[in-house]
Subunit: 424 residues, 2 copies
């Protein structure tokens, strides 16, 4: 017959399983991030090839395609190692479904490259195609972040996801700006899109700052090359303030691309630091959970089968606020007071899991906010036939006019959903 | 190499695993509910024994103890069958930890019964001990509800948990009222406690009404015996309005106990209807998921390994709002357009999982509200040395004075946590 101690140990084993799974997920997030970076460069170089009608950058693009093929192979190897039979902390179905979408997209990538080779697609078509694939890859990272059951790991994944998403907005900014300079003419809708991308980027980096460990946040703050930044801001100003239809200096195309690329390479270093931290935290947590499990198992061997006594009814209820926390399991004596100490362990565990759950709820709130905002944006796009940039702008405007937070506006939009006419 | 189809199938398998696990959890919830009911009766009869100094109800109590031993054995069998090695949808650790606590409490139950046998404990001590054990059992049901990854199942579990919790408040009301009548004298703190229990009970039943399927809600509304209810309300009025210290008719002790018990037996029937519905929904969902998996597997065999084409970049992004929903998998043709239709399946799956996730968030909100309110209550209890009833009353009062919802007051209390002095 299973005892309380049995389930105490089982609970600890669950924690360890979840940490192991997080370790594997972190590896997946790492290679996904590297492939995203590669595809962002490939997108940019493809645009330069298309923009110059195949006259320039063909070699650089070819090299980049080769690198991406290599990264894709690494991702596929990682996916092959993924145990699709093991349960995945409650959102395995969503994670796998995102992966299925990504694999489909990677399968279609050669066809996309063929369109660029033959100069058959416009810069806009090519950009949109790459962007779609990257957004599929980012969705994999989001699900990974959403699956974390440890608050510290969850914080890191939220920081990492937001940083990656911010970097993707930076990548889209690079592409949009390149296209504008290459076209040699300012264009109001594209300029509005640029502003949207800069704005979204900053919002993501802000969330990253909130959730990132201090060391990595400092790395980002201090690691940015000031000269590059000044260059970038000058060209941003030129791009954003030119009146629609007026001429833009096509010679700025390359300096713009370079400045954006340097900034994105700097971002990659931060991404890698975050990923390394993630791995490190997972390993540290695993080691400590494993030590506790060993201590529990020792108790298990000493389990004399003594009957629990009235102490159960006198002690603080498990998980009650203020219940004895910070008990050091390994330091627990056992023997005559075995049952008493198992009760204490059970209470300590319940209390700790409670605290973890509460912290997790707090971290998750930021992911949930994102989900709500995306849903509201999607609703506006469908109902009012807006582009994403327009829907975003509409909601930002509502937030400013009503002096409310974006999330509050999004909730209001969703609450209105029922009374809106059906789309189309 | 794993293909998109592979992960499409893996995602569906995850869904099936989760449903299977929900089925097992539902069985655990069912027997837990029956044991709770048995312990509630044992608590009531023990009080009558203690109240009459062992002169009455000994036989009835002995019979009830025997029944509880039987139910406990059933629960232990169910726990022995629980696969503690399988991952449990993200909150296995919390569920197992709750079970460890409960097993410890069940181990201590013989000692508690001994105290009652020897008339060594007061009615209050005995009530509190049983109540602690029941609240541990309810925490198991709460974790089960919190683990559901299917919105329909989650709704049922939320309804069931709230109904069980409401019934436990009814049980505590029975015990408190019995003790008051038996003492023959009104007592202000106990009367306040009674009001708190009636109030909490009604709040739980209201949530039950919101989340319960119409059939079961009707069963509850129409199944209540009006004569019993009128009796109960008359005695409630007597208990609550007597001025503190004035005499109460000790002869009402038994009619009160009987009226409360009849009501609780009626509640048990509703509980069982909910549990049956739960099992039925799990089985229906399993069957439909299994059919979809079979359809996917057929696709798998026909997978010609054709390369995905540009269709990927033209179609609606997966999970985008308004993406083609309601595709019938089984009706999908495959063959020449195989890849196209796998892309559609991937999109349909992503869209469906998105919808499920959104619905789940909505249902979960009610569980989260409960967590926040409990946390705030615990904070008040620790910081202001209040009983649970007093903390509850304080928050209700704040909500009324400020014309805010209880959850908003709870959030405000938690936000104040940092500036409060440390407890004790």
């Amino acid at each position: 017959m299973k005892t309380g101690l049995h389930f105490l140990v089982a609970a600890k084993r669950c924690e360890i399983d979840e940490l192991q799974q997080l370790g594997r997920t972190s590896a997946l997030v790492n290679i996904t991030g590297r492939l995203i970076h590669g595809l962002q460069r490939e997108r940019g170089l493809s645009n330069l090839v298309l923009g110059s009608q195949g006259a320039h950058f063909t070699e650089a693009r070819n090299a980049q395609v080769a690198e991406c093929l290599q990264l894709e192979a690494e991702l596929r190897t990682c996916l092959d190692c993924l145990d699709t039979n093991a349960a995945h902390a409650g959102n395995g179905a969503r994670l796998f479904s995102r992966i299925a979408y990504v694999l489909h997209g990677l399968g279609a990538l050669p066809a996309l490259r063929g369109q660029v080779d033959r100069l058959a697609w416009s810069v806009r078509q090519s950009t949109e195609a790459y962007t779609r694939l990257v957004s599929g890859l980012l969705a994999v990272v989001f699900e990974a972040a959403d699956s974390a059951t440890d608050p510290e790991v969850s914080r890191l994944l939220v920081a990492l996801f937001n940083f990656m998403q911010g970097k993707e907005f930076a990548g889209q900014e690079r592409a949009t700006g390149s296209a504008l300079f290459a076209a040699g003419r300012a264009d109001a809708p594209e300029q509005q899109r640029l502003l949207h991308l800069i704005d979204s980027q900053e919002r993501c980096l802000q969330v990253f700052g909130e959730f990132s460990p201090a060391g990595v946040a400092t790395l980002w703050d201090q690691g940015q090359d000031r000269a590059t930044l000044a260059d970038l801001e000058r060209m941003r100003r030129i791009l954003c303030t030119a009146s629609s239809g007026s001429a833009l200096d096509a010679n700025l195309s390359l300096p713009w691309f370079d400045a954006c690329s340097r900034r994105m390479d700097g971002m990659k270093a931060v991404e890698e630091a975050l990923a390394a931290e993630l791995l490190c935290v997972c390993q540290r947590k695993m080691a400590s959970a494993q030590a506790e499990l060993t201590a529990y198992s020792a108790l298990s061997e000493n389990d004399t089968g003594e009957t629990p006594d009235l102490a159960f009814f006198m002690a603080q209820p498990a998980g009650a606020p203020g219940a004895s926390a910070g008990l050091n399991v390994a330091a627990q004596g056992f023997g005559p007071h075995l049952e008493r100490s198992i009760l204490e362990l059970v209470q300590e565990q319940a209390q700790r899991l409670q605290t973890i759950g509460d912290e997790l709820d707090t971290v998750r709130a930021s992911l949930n906010e994102r989900k709500v905002i995306e849903r509201a944006k999607g609703l506006l796009m469908a109902h009012r036939h807006l582009s994403e940039a327009e829907a975003h702008k509409t909601m930002r405007q509502m937030a400013m006019n009503q002096n409310r937070r974006l999330i509050e506006v999004a909730e209001a939009v969703l609450a209105m959903a029922e009374v809106l006419p059906p789309p189309r």
